[in-house]
Every structure is written in structure tokens, then in C-alpha cells.
Amino acid sequence: MSDQQAIAPAPAWRRYSAAPPLLLVGSILLYVGVALWTGQTRMLETDGVIGLLQRMVGLGIVALGQTFAIIAGSIDLSVANLISVAAVLASFIMQGRADMMLAAVLIVLAVSALVGVVNGAIISRLQVSPFIATLGVGLILQGLLSASFTDFAGSVPKEFQLVAYSTFGVVPYSVAALFALAALASFVLWATRFGAHLYAVGGNAEGARLAGIRTDLVTIGAHVVCSLSAGLTGLYLASRLRSGAPWVGRDGVYDLESIAVVVIGGTLLAGGRGGVWGTLAGVLLFATLDAAFNMLGVSAYPKLVLRGAIVILAVAVYTFRTRGHVA
């Protein structure tokens, strides 16, 4: 990786990853092409497109947070388990009562933030590699959750279901929320001190420390953002499914898929480079693939095989020119 560093500063356009526009164009072409080829042109009308965007929400929110963790040179494998915890906790506290909604949301977000602090502290203070630290925290969360709940727990009130099922005009709340969160995340990364510190720590942790940055706090901050986004995805799933179950996160493979879309979106797995719009474009690619497989009538298992191959190819498209070594 180090041999890539040019002596002269790269021209301005080189600093922007080519991934987001490429993925966007590729996804649109794929979607439109498959819709026309199979003659399902109603998929190109408003409802079809909104449906496509709605597929992005669950994975999209958690992937935004995962982007923060990966830019800071970390990784979070506990998000799928935290999503389950958040969904179950929300519906268990609400028990179908509208007056408990605010309390439930606040408790879920507080628990998520706490998990983020624990993840970040284990990584930065105990010097445990992020892979093991978050894997361990995920196991702990999932174990506690599955020991306490074995089935759908409680339910969410009608009012809370509006989060997933209500719209502004034609745009669902959830889709609007996803793009609003993406804009906020983008602002934090580009225009705040915390964002700059994330890139600095991810690019060269020792250098950042020597420059006076409290790298431990930056790592903890990145994990708090990541865990909060997992908590939000859990709340969204509880709203959509009308109740939370201890397997909703794991069944969605949100841990590995969120990492995959971040990397497909052009964020460097080693940290220090990337952004949320690429991640969103990666999520769009996944949603488009799902939609395209459905239109083509590909059955569930071949879909899995193709999905795996596409994950590899999508990343390989722009890693294969890498000079130096990757492990």
C-alpha cells in the first residue's frame, strides 16, 4: 500500500473515488435493462422505484455507521446482533402501547451507544484487534438476547409502524430518513473536526497520535456512531415487522453485508479513505440485484451463489489494479 503514495500531490479529481457514480450508473442500467427485458415496465414507474429505494433502508442505515468504523481503520462485526437486540428491546418495552414509544426509542439508543463505547474501549484501551473485539461483543449480546427471548417479543403500536409504512406524498418516511442521515453523515465526515480526525486515525494511527489527536476517543466515537446506526436499523425493523425477534439481525446478514457494501462503495478496508455516498451506491447495487433477481425469477439458492460472486467481482473491479500487496 505504501508504494502507491505519489510524491507530487494527486490532482483534485483523483481524490474523489470513481466508485459512487460508476455504481449508480451500473445499478440504474441493470435495473432498467432487466425491467425492459422481462417486460415488467411497471417496475419503472413511481411505485416500482419507491419499492427499490425502500429495499435500501435497513441495510443502508447500518452501512452508514459501518462506513465510520471502517474509515477510522476499525470494523464492526457486532452490528447484526445489536440490530436484533434493538428490535427486540423496542417491541418488548412498547408492548403495543403508544405512550411507551419515546421511552423505548431512548432506551434502545442509549443501549446502542453503550455498546459502541464498549467496542471502542476494548479496541483502543485493551488493544484487542477490532475483528475479535466486536466479534466477542456480538457473541455476548446474541447470547444474552437468545437466553432471554426465544420468539417474537411484545409488539409495536400502530403509531410506531408509521415509521416504516407512512409517506410524505410518494416518498416513504424511511427513505427520506435514510437520505437525511446520509447527508448528515457526509457533513460530519467532510466538514467537522471529528470527521477529519476519523480520516487521520484511519490513515495512520501513529501519525495521528503524534500530531496530538486523542486516537482512543476517535475510535470510540466511530464505534458509537456505528452502534447507534445499528440501533436505528433495529428500530426500523421492529416497525416494519411489527415486532422484534432475536434472529432478525442475523437473518439479514447485516454484519457481513454492511461491510461488503462499504468496501464495494470504494472505502478502503484498511481505513483512511472513503465516504458515505459510495456506501449508499453499494447499498443501491445490492437492492438492485435483489430486485433484478426477483424480476428474472431466479430462485433463492442460485441467488445466494450469484450474490457471493458479485460481491467479489464488485470489489475486484477496482482493487485489481492495486500495486503492492493485499492480504
Binding site: 485493551l126 488493544q127 461483543v137 457473541l139 447470547g143 437466553a147 461491510i259 439458492y301 457471493g308 467479489i312
Partner: protein
């Protein structure tokens, strides 16, 4: 004076000796004694042999995963490959014992193919191995489901299952000797020789430590990467053949094994991102995890809380390892 110096020297030598003993070995022995106190069967030779038999698949997976970890990568596809091996075994033999050997050969060929794909994607397409092997995990799982139609039927012939279940009786001293333990010993010896006794093993360590330096020293890094992923995949097929003898044919025999294998290596002091690790450590880590599961079962903990305990142990093992390294410098 001289006495004091000698005492100091002896102490230094003793400390050096203690440092050289793998930490996981100590943890394993402590856990195993705890298990033995709760259930004295484990302290008899037959109980110990049975314990080793149950630990064998994870230990074999860990010694394969070890090569990939030392070279600086991850192999997340081994669990799905175990599943594919068991399901493929039942589909290919189709209840016909005479097809067992050709089936096993075919399964190893599949493993070789998956390993080569993983290695080639990482070495030539430069895709980070977490992503590359995650992709193969999804594909191989999908292939196993497709092959069996989602609900595997039938059973494996007895001569296929013998690798997991056959036991030699009336062996002197130890009483019984499971075939699985013989396979385990053979695989460990092979891994020990491959990693610590061959030029290839040295190169794996060198590549994990600093790939650029290894390349400048004349190591063909791509070949080493191909090699480690093939080794890992072949160990997964071996573990799969063995697990096929343990239980029935199901689509989730291999689920989560990749993370357990990585966890075993890490408990055994293997450094993630490469350059450091031993076969003794990986195997001791696998035995530690198996002893931990046995202990938690004896304590009557439900499966979910076992996962919780595993999470704690994993973090603690790595944190202690990191602390020991910081202190040693």
C-alpha cells in the same frame, strides 16, 4: 554475590521457560482439570480420548486457518465448505458404500477448487481476503443449498462415517483409540512440519510479517497466498468428512465454524494480520474452546449463554496476549 547472580540467572531462565510455554496450553489444562473435577470420567483415558475425538474437527480447522492467518489474511469460507462437504458427501454417495472413496476424492477436489479461487482472488485480483472469502462463503452455502434442494435427505454410508465414529478397542494403556484422534495427530504433525520445518512455512511467516520485504527477498508472494488458502480449504474438507460421522446431514453443520477456528487460533496466540503463530498454539486454542464448551455444558448453561461466555473468553484471551506483549517489550 555469585549466589545472587546465579539465582537471578536461574530466575531469568525460569521466566524465559514460562514465557515459551504457550499461554493457551496453561488455560486448557486449567479448564480441563475443572471439567474433570465436575465429571471424573474426563480424567480416565477413555474420557480423554472421547474429548479429543470431539475436539478433532475444530483443531483441524484451526491448524488450516492458522496458515491463512499467519500470512496476514482471513478465511471465512471454511464453515460453508464443511457444510458443502457433508451435503455433497450424502448426495454423491447416494447411500452406496462402494462410492465412499471416490466421493471423498471428489470432495477434496471441490475443496482444492474453492481454495484456489480464494487464493487467486486475493493474490491476483488484490481483493482483501475478508471480502473475498465472504463472497465464497455466500456462494458455497448457496451451492450446498442448491445441491440438496434446501432440505437434505438420506444419510452417509457407514464407511464414510467411520472417520468420525470408528474406535479401536482394547488398545493397551489407553483402552480405546478413536480413528478421529489418529487423523487429528496426523494433521497436526503435517501442519507442524509444513509450518516450522519447510521453506514454504518460513515463506508464509515472512509474507505475513512484511509482504514487500518477502518479495524483495525473492519470495513469490502470489504462490504463497494460493498455497495457504488451499491448505485451509483442504483442512475444511477433512473436518467436514469427520463431522459427517458425528451427526446427521444438515444444512448448518458448518455454521459459525470459521469464526470458532479463528477464535481458537487467536486464543492460541496467533497474531491477526500476520507474521506470528504456532501449530501448538492453534491446536491448544481449539482444545481450550472445546474444554470451555464442555465445562459450560456440565454447568448446565443453555447454548446462548455459552456463546456469551465464548465472547468474554475471546476478548480476554486477546487482551491478555496484547498486555503480555506490551510488557515484554
Amino acid at each position: 554475590m555469585t549466589v545472587a547472580i546465579q539465582g537471578g540467572r536461574e530466575r531469568a531462565r525460569a521466566v524465559a521457560l514460562v514465557r515459551r510455554v504457550n499461554f493457551a496450553v496453561v488455560v486448557f489444562l486449567a479448564l480441563y482439570v475443572a471439567v474433570g473435577l465436575l465429571q471424573p470420567n474426563y480424567l480416565e483415558p477413555a474420557g480423554a480420548m472421547n474429548f479429543l475425538r470431539r475436539a478433532a474437527p475444530l483443531a483441524i480447522l484451526a491448524s488450516g486457518q492458522l496458515f491463512v492467518l499467519i500470512s496476514g489474511g482471513f478465511d471465512l469460507s471454511v464453515g460453508s465448505l464443511v457444510t458443502l462437504t457433508v451435503i455433497g458427501g450424502s448426495m454423491l454417495t447416494a447411500n452406496d458404500p462402494s462410492k465412499t472413496w471416490s466421493t471423498i476424492a471428489a470432495l477434496y477436489a471441490i475443496g482444492l477448487f474453492v481454495g484456489l479461487i480464494n487464493g487467486a482472488v486475493v493474490a491476483y485480483l488484490k481483493t482483501p481476503s475478508i471480502i473475498a472469502t465472504l463472497g465464497t462463503l455466500l456462494s458455497v452455502n448457496g451451492a450446498a443449498m442448491m445441491w440438496s434442494g434446501g432440505s437434505p435427505r438420506g444419510y452417509l454410508p457407514d464407511n464414510f462415517r467411520m472417520f468420525g465414529r470408528f474406535v479401536f478397542h482394547d488398545v493397551p494403556v489407553i483402552g480405546i483409540f478413536p480413528l478421529a484422534v489418529a487423523v487429528l495427530v496426523a494433521v497436526c504433525a503435517l501442519a507442524q512440519w509444513g509450518l516450522h520445518g519447510t521453506v514454504f512455512g518460513r515463506r508464509v511467516l515472512a509474507v505475513g510479517d512484511n509482504p514487500r520485504a518477502a518479495e524483495l527477498a525473492g519470495v513469490r508472494v502470489e504462490f504463497v497466498r494460493l498455497g495457504v488458502f488451499v491448505i485451509s480449504a483442504l483442512s475444511a474438507v477433512t473436518a467436514g468428512v469427520m463431522l459427517g460421522g458425528f451427526g446427521g446431514v444438515s444444512v448448518d453443520v458448518g455454521r459459525g465454524l470459521e469464526l470458532q477456528a479463528i477464535a481458537a487460533c487467536v486464543v492460541g496466540g496467533v497474531q491477526l494480520l500476520g507474521g506470528r503463530g504456532t501449530v501448538v498454539g492453534a491446536v491448544a486454542g481449539a482444545l481450550t474452546l472445546t474444554a470451555l464448551f464442555a465445562l459450560l455444558t456440565l454447568l448446565g448453561l443453555p447454548q446462548p449463554l455459552k456463546d456469551t461466555a465464548q465472547g468474554f473468553i475471546l476478548i480476554a484471551a486477546v487482551a491478555i496476549g496484547a498486555w503480555r506483549r506490551r510488557r515484554a517489550v
